[in-house]
């Protein structure tokens, strides 16, 4: 326990010393909210006059925070640790390997939640975001969504040989997913059929659906939840079979 505690604390400090990680996890989503809201305004949502744009957008952007840490942060950090033989050095101690993985999960989870909190707080203060319909269900939803995408990140982290390839592959996975899932604020319902079918295959689509529905109507989208649990299970199995320490 002492090792996990120290490792998590140390990794948190290292995270905060990495300007790119801090910017993209903590600041970028809030900046996107401010930018898009100033361009598109905060009028009522077409077809649903009870809601304003921010009530749909802010919950969607939480998916961006989760995907950023999961697909860009985690794989780059861990692939870099392998490339620089940091993992190799850790293996030469009595430390159980799971401590390394769990501490990475905890740090990235904490930073994701912090990024989400900053985003939602800004949305509330600046654009009067409506309060969530199911506030107490949101926390477990964020955790489930994060773990599911983190597991995908671990699959990438486990097989990509360097920080650089992790960055490239992470971006190749991230950007299409970002734009097609609804996390960028675009609504897949309005896509042409072909793109819509693609968006149905993306885990991030279900993150956005899960959070938006809990936020707006207070109901659990069980399909979305099941999809995310499925992604989690498959990714854990794949990554435990393919993860390389050196």
């Amino acid at each position: 326990m002492r090792a996990l505690h120290k490792m998590t604390w140390t990794e948190s400090k290292l995270f905060l010393r990495e300007p790119a990680a801090v910017f993209f996890t903590l600041a970028f989503p809030t900046l996107v909210l401010l930018l898009f809201s100033s361009i598109f305004g905060n009028g009522p949502v077409p077809g649903n006059p009870d809601l304003r744009m921010v009530d749909v957008m802010a919950p969607a952007y939480t998916g961006m925070v989760i995907a950023t840490t999961a697909l860009l942060g985690l794989p780059i950090t861990i692939a870099g640790y392998r490339q620089q033989r940091i993992l190799r050095r850790l293996r030469a101690t009595p430390l159980h390997p799971s401590v390394i993985l769990v501490s990475q999960l905890l740090v990235n989870l904490a930073m994701t939640i912090l990024g989400i909190a900053l985003l939602l707080l800004t949305a509330w203060l600046v654009y009067d975001l409506r309060l969530p319909a199911a506030p107490f269900s949101l926390a477990p939803a964020f955790v489930a969504a994060s773990l599911s995408l983190f597991a995908v990140g671990f699959v990438l982290a486990g097989v990509l040989p360097s920080a650089r390839t992790a960055q490239i592959v992470g971006q190749v996975v991230f950007f299409p997913m970002f734009f097609l899932s609804g996390a960028a604020g675009l609504q897949p319902e309005m896509f042409p059929d072909a793109l819509r079918r693609v968006s149905e295959l993306l885990p991030l689509t279900y993150v956005v659906r899960l959070v938006q529905e809990l936020w707006i109507s207070g109901t659990w989208n069980l399909t979305a939840l099941l999809m995310l649990v499925g992604v989690l299970a498959v990714s854990v199995v794949v990554s435990s079979m393919t993860f390389r320490w050196e």
Binding site: R2, A3, H5, K6, M7, T10, K13, L14, R17, E18, Y81, Q84, R85, I86, R88, R89, R91, A92, T93, P94, L95, H96
Partner: protein, 303 residues
């Protein structure tokens, strides 16, 4: 001198490449034991087998009375390891690294004395990426000592260091041994092994080609000591032939080389003086561990 390490006939191959062909040795408590050989000889693989990071395909390994293969974590609790080309996160500070690594071991003592011992006191708040090569190396060695290990494995600790930093590191490694810790030193430098090790195993192409103290290995060489004399003629050189202990005399250009044993230098210089001959230059050639390697493998090792 109880055996801390026992290695018997280990073999290890990666695909079709044989890394370790047949390696056996014992390491006694409190000695600096060198595993020496050229790059690719199988040294690192051997050390990884000792630490339980790899399992040999065949053979037996016992370290501190444990089987590294099945009791690796228990063993690493009592072991210190400096791995070749290991690294730390760039932004991790010296003090944080020691504090973190100390937390991996049950009952690790206070790590702060290590800062002073390894000359890192003023660097405790410096990030890893801002350390010099020598400081990084000293930090790695300090990290391998955070658990006060009974045995420490050091793999290529002076590669890339300037001569002064190398000497300092050697001094500190002797200090580790004098503190009662057994040291296994892996190096491709014969000079380092000769300087530092109580006993060495010379490894080439996965096999142990020589195993003893550097002094005994050198003594066992057919090569003799030599005295190099400049500025004397061949006739004068001839007068040295009958001297006690001289086995042969060779002229190479305007240099004369006298081979033999015993107090060769003293005898040669006294004889020349008695005859009123003053060489312009006197030097001695001593066989080294490099010559042992050459003798055993038929090739030169590149430092």
């Amino acid at each position: 001198m109880g055996a801390v390490i026992g290695v018997e006939g280990i073999h290890k191959r990666y695909g079709s490449t044989v890394a370790v062909e047949d390696v056996s040795f014992e390491v006694g408590r409190g000695e600096i034991f060198g595993i020496v050989g050229p790059n690719g000889a199988g040294k690192t693989t051997t050390v990884e087998c000792l630490a339980g990071l790899r399992r040999p395909d065949r053979g037996v390994v016992r370290v501190l009375g444990l089987d590294p293969g099945s009791e690796g974590r228990k063993l690493r609790e009592r072991l210190g390891i400096q791995l070749q080309q290991a690294a730390l996160p760039e932004d991790l500070k010296v003090g944080e690294a020691l504090d973190l690594y100390a937390s991996f071991y049950k009952g690790a003592p206070d790590w702060r004395p290590l800062l002073a011992q390894w000359g890192l006191e003023e660097k405790w708040n410096t990030r890893f990426k801002n350390l010099s090569g020598g400081q990084k190396q000293r930090l790695f060695i300090a990290l391998s000592l955070v658990n006060e290990p009974e045995l420490v494995l050091l793999d290529e600790i002076t590669t890339g260091l300037d001569p002064q930093a190398r000497r300092l590191t050697w001094e500190l490694v002797r200090g580790i041994r004098d503190g009662g810790t057994t040291v296994v030193l892996v190096t491709h430098s014969m000079q380092e092994a000769e300087e530092l090790c109580d006993r060495v195993a010379i490894i080439d192409r996965g096999r142990v080609v020589a195993l003893d103290s550097p002094e005994a290995l050198i003594r066992g060489l057919p090569t003799e000591a030599s005295v190099h004399l400049g500025g004397i003629d061949a006739e004068a050189a001839e007068t040295l032939r009958p001297l006690t202990g001289v086995s042969r005399v060779e002229s190479e250009g305007d240099e004369v080389v006298v081979y033999g044993g015993g107090p060769l230098l003293v005898r040669v210089v006294v004889e020349l003086d008695r005859r009123g001959i003053t060489p312009s230059d006197v030097g001695i050639g001593k066989p080294t561990l490099e010559d042992v390697f050459l003798e055993k493998t038929g090739k030169k090792i590149r430092d």
